[in-house]
């Protein structure tokens, strides 16, 4: 399977039961489920920063509500560090 940018992201989406799931891109299972959107976003933001993954918040129809880049910035910072 070809790696895609979305596979280096954590995705937060509403589920059919009124809760929110956090899923690593490319995975066929949710990593964690929350009742509240805020809790799902907080958890996903934390692991995205820690793992230098991007963070993507989806609407119910799959479109992107917000997108935060942690992965690319981190790679850029690593490159910057390497030139020092």
């Amino acid at each position: 399977m070809i790696e895609k940018k979305s596979h280096h992201s954590y995705h937060v989406s509403p589920d059919s039961k009124g809760g929110w799931t956090v899923r690593k891109g490319g995975s066929h299972r949710a990593s964690k489920r929350f009742e509240e959107k805020k809790d799902a976003v907080d958890w996903a933001l934390r692991v995205s920063r820690n793992q230098r993954f991007d963070f993507v918040l989806h609407r119910k129809d799959g479109t992107v509500e917000s997108y935060s880049v942690y992965g690319e910035r981190s790679r850029f910072q690593r490159d910057q560090d390497a030139t020092k």
Binding site: S6, G26, H28, V56, H58, K60, D61, G62, T63, V64
Partner: protein
């Protein structure tokens, strides 16, 4: 007896649905699922030729598509004095007539009819009584589920991933679609008004392995 127009007939799926923004939330996962299952969605929006009558274009698409998906969930008027929408039931009638009155390969045509709620359609289209109509409940995941299940049940596809997995892949695609188009200079408005063939092209590229 009519001869097959081309080999693509077996893979073409005529999509009969509204194209306004209010339906985009269902149209995107619908298109993704059809392409994901390795079929070709055929829509009246595919080409814009002012010299071509819309009904001629639709009849042409129906004739070259073995399969068709008709969403009747938006035929009801939503405001006072607003007309109900007749295009979708009309095009379903053309599809039905094509299959009913043709000979040869066109009798092999198969169609999926979608509604928001089961039996809603009977209030306005009782001629369809007894016809198996699927309900997506106006949910994007519901569209993926009904379309995927229909391809398994009626078309005979095997070893197809679950509706939930297809929807997960759809959200991955939307994420890549958003971030890549953003870098290329597309605004949110550009993305929401993107021509359908261009959007389908991006789905194909993504499924084909392009990031």
């Amino acid at each position: 007896m009519p001869t097959r127009p081309h080999e693509e007939f077996e893979r073409n799926v005529f999509i009969n649905c509204p194209f306004d923004r209010g339906y985009h939330s269902l149209l995107r996962p619908l298109l993704f699922t059809v392409v994901y299952l390795d079929f070709n969605p055929k829509l009246a929006l595919e080409r814009s030729d002012s010299g071509e009558l819309r009904i001629s274009k639709i009849c042409g698409l129906i004739k070259i598509s073995k399969y068709s998906i008709h969403d009747l969930s938006r035929i009801r008027s939503s405001e006072p004095n607003e007309f109900y929408r007749l295009n979708m039931p009309f095009e379903l009638g053309v599809e039905y007539g094509c299959r009913q009155f043709s000979t040869g390969y066109l009798r092999e045509k198969r169609c999926l009819i979608l509604e928001k709620d089961r039996f809603n359609y009977m209030k306005a289209l009782s001629d369809l009584s007894g016809v198996d109509i699927k309900s997506h409940e106006d949910e994007p995941l519901g569209v993926v589920r009904e379309v995927r299940n229909w391809f398994v049940e009626t078309v005979g596809l095997r070893r197809v991933k679950s509706p939930q997995i297809i929807f997960y892949e759809f959200t991955d695609f939307m994420s890549d679609f958003y971030s890549k188009r953003n870098v290329e200079g597309f605004s949110d408005e550009d993305l929401s008004s993107m021509p359908v063939p261009e959007f389908v092209g991006f789905i194909r590229d993504w499924i084909g392995g392009q990031p």
